[in-house]
């Protein structure tokens, strides 16, 4: 294999389409006779539906139909549990999944109660107030810790309490070592909720063709194939009669892997009822209630270290806010549990969590997927231990890193993929060295900071590490074919939401087939083109689908060579693939073009040789036995105004290990996007609920996301430890940038202010909240 493109900063194939407005998004789909759907959603976080009368709405201008739970009949079913509980001993798990339309009770603001179908969205929305719904409010549960108190209002009557899950994972024996510790740092650490805030909200267009018996659904999902399979099952259709297309999507960030959203269940059913296409596009306000959210956790954690700062053990007990329903099972708290361990030697670990139902929107992964709270806890406790022991923050990390010969490293606890948490590979110290060098750590502390302080300026530096389990199974597939035109087509099942799949997958294939990256036409996320696979999540697209593309391209290369050997009457070993042709190495004049071979491989008359297949096409699958462990070190320089508590992030350095890099430009883009997301998560983005679980900032006026001026220039570099668990040695990168930003920000701000009483133990931290902490620290200090 010649690697002309793998690893090269190839420009993205898809950018021309995206930048010239030629890319199809769900809302671009316009069909003859298409109707529009609007949803009546609950204004109450917790209420009983005592009456529901849609007759006046049905009579309204332009209204075609109005549906309630009662109209759905047998089709009304709670959604599936997406991730079965992981095999943890003594696990307690209670599952309650979302329903298409609320029947007896609503459990969060924004839960849909009725669907109105009209000629236009205007008419549909205008009919919503005509629906007479009596909601008898019940006391609501906003706080996950309060939710678990014995007198808390119960959200799901079938359970004895609001406890959704309880799990303990242990390694070693924390209790036995805590006595020997030179220092035990105990803290309560909070992580609040945020939204994913994609540029494009969710949307569904569904079209039923009675004559062909085919249902086509355009959906902003990250998992088109499972959506297809689920819809076929729910609607009683053969899977091949359902086509789900996830076209270009303006940002996934996790919530679009959730399924099935009520709208995804209802629109396909509605089009089959009415025989007309239907469209629903989520508006920004709906998105704040109807799209899943993440990250509310409350940790009681302690870190035991010896006098040199070496970790003896960690004990952590946390409450996880599952929201009103928990279709995603335990993925998030288990990710928290596992990712907390970080790149460190932690001989003894006790981790316990309780998941609590609350009357807040459903929780499912948002970029990072439970990892941020874990990293926040570990990194903060290390900072505090370093402070107590008078050790530099980089030094305490260095002393605790797993050594390079420790891999593969089995932690002996269960990860989200139900297998043991194994780090496949890694080499952490060089990343830390490189990051300290890039941000000029020593000079900052010895010169820059004192000089600024002399001028009355408060600048600070932070540096943290993390790991991220990526690229988990089960599998993905790809089909590569050569068209009679000589162009190469590649189809894979994963959906794409801006990750550059049209380029990175094309690079992998182009290297095998000896064509240009621009000669490879990539199709993703269309079940009509490829219908095996699971989806884009867990930083797995490049790892799992990328290796499937590789395997398919290798197989196709063999087919091309065999066909060409026959046509050119040459030995396989004497042939090479160059610029879309196969030629004899020693006699380049003897060659045949791919297109010609494709035609010959699919003859109209004659016979295809027994034991061969027609066409130049190959399909392959890849399923890693275990995921690959990405890691990184982030560093940041901030300046804090102690009077206003405003923080200016001035520099940001990321040294990242995602194994072998397919396309450094794309990875850099992913990381910078993640850093922007991370900066939002630490200083700007917080969903604020009142005690009745009413969201107080459901618009971009009040829910702040970082703007371009809030995101500093990001310098990136790579350390490469190839994953031994996949042929290409790849690790995932999609979530990485967002994962360690919170503790980094906290550390840098504390470093800037140098106030003994100031500890940032909650995220996000707004300027207002930071100001309060500063005031408190001044009083105690």
């Amino acid at each position: 294999m010649s690697a002309a493109f793998f690893g090269a900063p190839v420009p993205r194939n898809e950018d021309h389409r995206l930048l010239t407005g030629q890319a199809l998004f769900v809302d671009d789909v316009q069909l003859e006779g298409m109707l529009h759907v609007a949803f009546l959603r609950s204004d109450y976080a917790h209420a009983r539906i005592t009456s529901l009368d849609v007759s006046a709405a049905r009579e309204s201008d332009g209204i075609v139909a109005v549906y309630t739970a009662a109209d759905l009949g047998e089709y009304w079913q709670p959604g599936p549990l997406l991730v079965p509980p992981q095999p943890i001993e003594r696990l307690e798990f209670h599952c309650a999944t979302q329903v298409p339309l609320a029947k007896d009770k609503v459990r969060h603001v924004g839960e849909p109660i009725a669907a109105v179908v009209a000629r236009s969205r205007y008419e549909a929305e205008d009919a919503l107030p005509l629906i007479q719904v009596e909601l008898d409010p019940l006391p609501a549960v906003a706080d996950p810790v309060g939710a678990l108190e014995s007198d808390a209002p119960r959200i799901h009557e079938q359970f004895e309490s609001n406890l959704a899950a309880h799990a303990i994972q242990e390694k070693g024996d924390y209790a036995s070592i805590v006595e020997q510790a030179a220092l035990v740092v105990r803290r309560r650490l909070l992580h609040d909720r945020g939204a994913s805030a994609p540029m494009e909200n969710r949307g569904v267009v569904a079209s039923w063709d009675q004559k062909s018996g085919e249902l086509t659904v355009w959906d902003t999902t990250q998992a088109p194939i499972p959506i297809r399979n689920g819809l076929a099952s729910m609607l009683g259709l053969p899977e091949h009669q359902v086509r789900v297309i996830a076209p270009f999507i303006g940002g996934g960030f996790g919530p679009k892997i959730m399924m099935f959203y009520p709208e995804e269940v209802l629109l396909p059913w509605i089009t089959m009822q009415l025989g007309q296409p239907v469209k629903w596009i989520e508006d920004r306000q709906e998105s704040f209630f109807a799209t899943t959210q993440e990250r509310n956790q409350v940790h009681e954690a302690e870190l035991a270290v010896d006098a040199e700062g070496r970790i003896l053990g960690v004990r952590d007990s946390f409450v996880y806010d599952a929201g009103a329903y928990n279709p995603y099972g335990l993925t998030l708290p288990i990710n928290t549990q596992c990712t907390l361990l970080g790149p460190y030697v932690v001989p003894n670990y006790y981790s316990e969590f309780r998941a609590a139902f609350t009357n807040k929107p459903i929780v499912s992964p948002v970029r990072g997927a439970g990892r941020q709270p874990g990293v926040f806890v570990m990194e903060r406790l290390l900072d505090l231990a370093a402070r107590e022991l008078g050790i530099d923050v980089t030094e305490i990390r260095r002393r605790n890193f797993l050594p390079p010969d420790a891999f593969p490293h089995d932690h002996g606890i269960i990860y989200q993929d139900s297998a043991s948490l194994v780090y496949d590979s890694g080499n952490y110290e060089p990343a830390l060295d490189r990051a300290t060098e890039m941000i000029d750590y020593a000079r900052f502390l010895s010169e820059t900071q004192p000089a600024a302080r002399a001028e009355g300026r408060h600048v600070g530096i932070g540096i943290v590490s993390y790991v991220e389990g990526t690229g988990i199974g089960p599998y993905e597939g790809a089909r590569v074919s050569v068209e009679p035109s000589g162009r190469v087509s590649l189809a894979t099942g994963v959906g794409t939401q801006g990750q550059g799949h049209f380029t990175s997958f094309a690079q992998i294939v182009a290297d095998q087939l000896g064509v240009e990256v621009t000669d490879v036409e990539v199709v993703t996320g269309d079940t009509g083109k490829f219908h095996w696979g699971t989806g884009t999540f867990a930083s797995r697209g490049a790892v799992v689908a990328g290796n499937a593309c590789h395997a398919a391209a290798v197989a196709l290369r063999e087919k091309i060579l065999e066909q060409a050997a026959q046509e050119l009457e040459a030995e396989l070993a004497d042939l090479e693939l160059v610029a879309g042709t196969v030629r004899v190495k020693e006699a380049p004049g003897r060659s045949i073009a791919f297109g010609e071979l494709a035609v010959l491989a699919n003859p109209l008359r004659g016979a295809v040789r027994p034991g061969t297949e027609p066409g130049l096409e190959a399909t392959a699958y890849f399923g890693p036995e275990k995921g690959s462990t990405a890691s990184g070190v982030h560093a940041m320089i901030v300046e804090v105004d102690p009077e206003t508590a405003m923080v200016d992030v001035q520099r940001y350095v990321v040294v990242h290990d995602c194994g072998r890099v397919i396309n450094p430009t794309i990875v850099r883009g992913q990381i910078i996007g993640g850093v922007a997301h991370g900066i939002g998560n630490c200083f700007y983005e917080q969903l604020v609920f009142d005690e009745n679980a009413q969201l107080q900032n459901a618009s971009f006026m009040d829910y702040l996301i970082p703007t371009a001026t809030d995101v500093p220039p990001v310098d990136t570099d790579h350390v490469v430890t190839p994953s031994p668990f996949n042929p290409l040695g790849i690790k995932g990168a999609g979530e990485a940038g967002a994962i360690p930003t919170n503790p980094l920000f906290a550390q840098a701000v504390e470093n800037a202010l140098q106030m003994p009483g100031l500890e940032i133990l909650e995220m996000p931290i707004s300027p207002n909240r930071l100001f309060e902490l500063l005031e408190a620290a001044r009083e105690t200090g």
């Binding site: 204004d43 603001v109 704040f288 209630f289 009745n692 107080q696 900032n697 459901a698 618009s699 006026m701």
Partner: protein, 180 residues
């Protein structure tokens, strides 16, 4: 959400009471409200409010008066629902003499605000809402002092006087809630 506030009127309590009983006075303080009495202490109607980007949102309002101690105090239960959300809660109003020419109105309210009006209107128009509530009470106060006699307002003429007062307080309370 609990709120507590007070307003000092420049006039004796009896006179304030009489003025407060005048629907026209409150109509001026509370434009956009229509109410109908359904029995002795229960009223239904509608109210229009603009809270930030939620413009001219209509709410169906149901109000019930309980624990009336004329002319000193009463408690009201309010339930408002509309396309833009809901308000629900209880308000307790007291009038106390503060010397011969001053009366202190104290009110406490425990209110829930939900839906779009809570999510989007929460703090955008803090200052507008503050000034609206202040203007409403000031308007009543000015009338008490014999200034700027209010124009008659048709929508509230069906109302009994205590109810108009009650509505006034609730609307003001809701606006105040939105400030917090």
């Amino acid at each position: 959400m609990e709120i507590q506030s007070e307003f000092l009127f420049s006039g004796p309590r009896d006179e304030l009471w009489v003025n407060l009983m005048d629907p026209a006075v409150l109509a001026k303080a509370l434009p956009g409200t229509k109410l109908e009495r359904v029995d002795e202490d229960r009223y239904v109607g509608e109210m229009e409010a603009t809270v930030g980007p939620v413009t001219a949102a209509r709410f169906d309002v149901a109000i019930e008066l309980v624990d009336k101690v004329v002319p000193e105090s009463f408690t009201m239960r309010v339930d408002g629902k509309g396309a833009a959300g809901f308000t629900k809660g209880t308000a307790h109003v007291q009038l106390a003499e503060q010397g011969p020419d001053e009366t202190l109105m104290k009110y406490t309210a425990d209110l829930q605000v939900g839906g779009r009006i809570a999510g989007v209107g929460q703090r955008l128009l803090d200052s507008v809402a503050k000034s609206m509530s202040h203007q409403g009470l000031e308007a009543i106060n000015r009338h008490l002092q014999g200034e700027a006699p209010p124009e008659a307002a048709a929508p509230v003429q069906l109302l009994s006087r205590p109810v108009v007062l009650a509505i006034g307080i609730v609307v003001l309370a809701v606006l105040l809630v939105l400030l917090l």
